[in-house]
């Protein structure tokens, strides 16, 4: 049974999709976090959902998302992920 910490460590270098409270979605490579759960993403694209929004998003590079703004964190399922890692 994996601990939460090792599960998060296992997500390093994987793609995360982070939804923040103002509705934006960030899609980037997870490269680090701290005890306050500030999430560091590399090569990140920012998306807004809506009829007048750019469906291709916009590239914002390297970002740090404070946990207070995070409403959801999702990880891309990988074939190599241990069974039950995200359940």
């Amino acid at each position: 049974m994996l601990t939460s910490l090792s599960a998060v460590q296992g997500l390093l270098n994987d793609t995360l999709r982070v939804t923040v409270t103002d509705g934006r979605i960030f899609l980037g490579t997870f490269v680090g976090t701290d005890s306050e759960l500030n999430i560091l993403l590399l090569n990140t694209d920012e998306f807004r959902l809506g009829p007048n929004e750019n469906p291709n998003g916009r590239f914002v590079g390297q970002v740090m998302i404070p946990w207070r703004l995070v409403s959801k964190v999702e990880a891309r399922l990988s074939l190599q992920s241990p069974d039950g890692m995200f359940t």
């Binding site: 998060v8 005890s35 809506g50 916009r58 914002v60 999702e74 891309r76």
Partner: protein, 588 residues
């Protein structure tokens, strides 16, 4: 599975790990951090913080919240007039130095040209006072024209001569300016709009709004069209067409100014066509300041400035004297006219003067060297080129061409860049002067003995401009001004001596003779002014500014060590002892 979920960026292969993160926080010490291999705290320091307004360029502030923009919302004719006027304000603000994101891109109809096509209309209720063609035909054509005019002007400014980030902003933020749309298609759309506005027989919609607004819209659509025609001209080849179009544009502008479009009400749909906060939705690494568009009168003033710059360009492209370009450029710098000139005008002046292969669109680069000798001492290069067969070192022609092109063009650079260029040119002119001296040591032609004076005079002119630009740029501290004035008198003294030598070989009555006499008079006056200022400043300070550690740095261009290959003495090196001695004499 919900449709929204299927449309999420990245696809469906994601699992929610929010709880896992929350759990991990409990297991991390207060100061503990986890990083991927090869990533460090140092790397993390350069990440942009989301939610921090000064760093998060995509954060939508409370004041930026607005209802969705409907590009097909019907509009009153006076509202369309207002939108067309404000779209030009966006364009002119970009020309005055802001980014496209802060100006042109805030005009939302510019991004919605494709959606505004009549074919996209499905069901709508016809409002006789708001014919939908005003949006799908008139506004759509104007919006397309604004974008195309900007992309054409952008291409003109990107040709070189002016500098991105210094003089203008080329960043397009990944937004299309309709670069690939053929210009003929844009003119076709405009003609269709003009035709719809002038047509009185087709349909009833056009008859439902007053003739006054139809005329006003016609003026504005025609004005948009003529702006695009002007920026798409190939200059200097089409200079006559430029003059015609410019006169038409001035006339249209005067008529538009007589009938300003009324400000729409605060809840008008027209106001939704401009979003100053759009920068937060566009590609940008750092948040850009929100710009308020200036009053419309400000835009008309900027346009009049554009047209006066184009008129001057028309006159100047007729001048086939390098000296004329140089004198006009110098006067503009000295009178600080350049400060008020639009970057587009400065760029067009430079590209009209030389485009990389031809000068003034007609002459080879070699023509510049011919004019250089002809206008300096009345001899064409061809008549003396035989003596250049004995030239020592690299062939001088490319160096000549490059120096003349850049020295003339530098009058349309921004002032600090012009100063930096002139400082570099001091050495180049010195090398040429040295080359002439070596060349003529082998010859006994009396007329040619003054050839080294030609590069020397250009060098001295550059030095005078460097010293004067220090005043314009407010570089000199109060205690440095005395030396600057004194040094200017010394450089001019050398320059006047040079001119007097050259006068001995010029034939009185020739253009070159008159030109050099004028220059002598001008420099004498300038020297008198500088001498007066030296006296005034000397009585206020002791003049020990040569001890200032900044002194050598300020005049590094004059103190620059000689190139080992240069044998002649440098007449520009300031003599500090002479300065101190002169100051003491003046104080006594």
């Amino acid at each position: 599975m919900h449709l929204e979920q299927m449309d999420l960026p990245g696809g469906n292969d994601f699992a929610d790990v929010t709880a896992i993160f929350a759990g991990a926080a409990q297991q991390l010490d207060a100061t503990e951090m986890i990083f991927a291999d090869g990533y460090s705290l140092n790397d993390a320091m350069s990440a942009l913080e989301i939610g921090e307004p000064r760093m998060d360029s995509g954060m939508v502030l409370e004041e930026a919240q607005r209802p969705p923009f409907d590009s097909l919302a019907p509009l009153l004719p006076e509202e369309v007039c207002w939108i067309l006027d404000r779209s030009i304000s966006c364009e002119m603000e970009w020309h005055t130095g802001s980014t496209l994101s802060q100006t042109v891109y805030t005009f939302l109809y510019g991004h919605a040209v494709a959606e505004m096509h009549p074919d996209h209309l499905l069901n709508f209720e016809e409002d006789p006072s708001r014919p939908i063609e005003l949006v799908t035909v008139v506004l759509r054509a104007a919006a397309l024209t604004v974008m195309k005019t900007c992309s054409t002007a952008w291409a003109g400014m990107a040709k070189g001569g002016i500098h991105d980030q210094e003089d203008w902003h080329s960043e397009k933020a990944d937004i299309s300016l309709h670069e690939s749309t053929p210009i003929g298609r844009v003119f076709g759309e405009l003609d269709q709009a003009i035709s719809w506005l002038t047509c009185t027989t087709r349909g009833t919609a056009i008859l439902c709004f007053p003739q006054k607004w139809r005329n006003e819209l016609l003026l504005r659509v025609s004005f948009h069209k003529i702006l695009l025609e002007i920026v798409s001209l190939s200059l200097p080849r089409e200079r006559e067409m430029l003059q015609l179009k410019r006169k038409d544009a001035v006339s249209l502008l005067e008529r538009i100014e007589l009938q300003p479009s009324p400000e729409p009400s605060t809840d008008s749909v027209a106001r939704m066509g401009f979003d100053p906060y759009i920068t937060r939705r566009l590609f940008a690494f750092m948040p850009l300041r929100v710009l308020e568009l200036p009053p419309q009168e400000h835009t008309w003033k900027a346009l009049r400035l554009l047209f006066s710059g184009l008129e001057e360009l028309y006159e100047l492209t007729d001048a086939t004297n390098v000296t004329t370009w140089q004198v006009v450029g110098d006067v503009k710098v000295w009178k600080r006219i350049y400060v008020h000139q639009l970057t587009y005008i400065r760029a067009t002046h430079i590209s009209s003067f030389v485009n990389g292969t031809t000068v003034l669109g007609a002459y080879p680069l070699r023509w510049l060297v011919d004019r250089f000798f002809l206008e300096s001492v009345g001899l064409s290069y061809d008549s003396i080129n035989v003596v250049f067969s004995n030239w020592v070192g690299d062939p001088p022609l490319p160096r000549f061409e490059n120096l003349i092109i850049k020295t003339v063009s530098s009058s349309w650079y921004n002032l600090p860049r012009r100063r930096r260029y002139l400082m570099k040119s001091i050495f180049e002119w010195h090398v040429l002067q040295d080359g002439f001296v070596r060349l003529l040591e082998q010859m006994k032609f009396s007329l040619l003995r003054l050839l080294p004076h030609i590069p020397l005079m250009w060098r001295l002119t550059a030095a005078e401009n460097i010293i004067l630009s220090g005043f314009q740029l407010e570089l000199y501290a109060p205690h440095e001004r005395t030396f600057a004035y004194w040094y200017l008198t010394q450089v001019i003294e050398t320059h006047l001596g040079c001119i007097e030598d050259v006068l001995t070989v010029l034939s009185p009555g020739t253009i070159e003779y008159h030109e050099i006499i004028f220059r002598h008079t001008l420099l004498t006056a300038l020297q008198a002014l500088a001498t007066g200022m030296t006296v005034v400043d000397t009585t206020r300070s002791i003049g020990h500014d040569v001890d200032d550690p900044n002194f050598l740095r300020r005049y590094k261009w004059a103190f620059k060590p000689h190139h080992p290959a240069i044998r002649i003495q440098d007449v520009l090196v300031p003599n500090q002892q002479d300065f101190i001695s002169d100051c003491r004499d003046l104080q006594v």
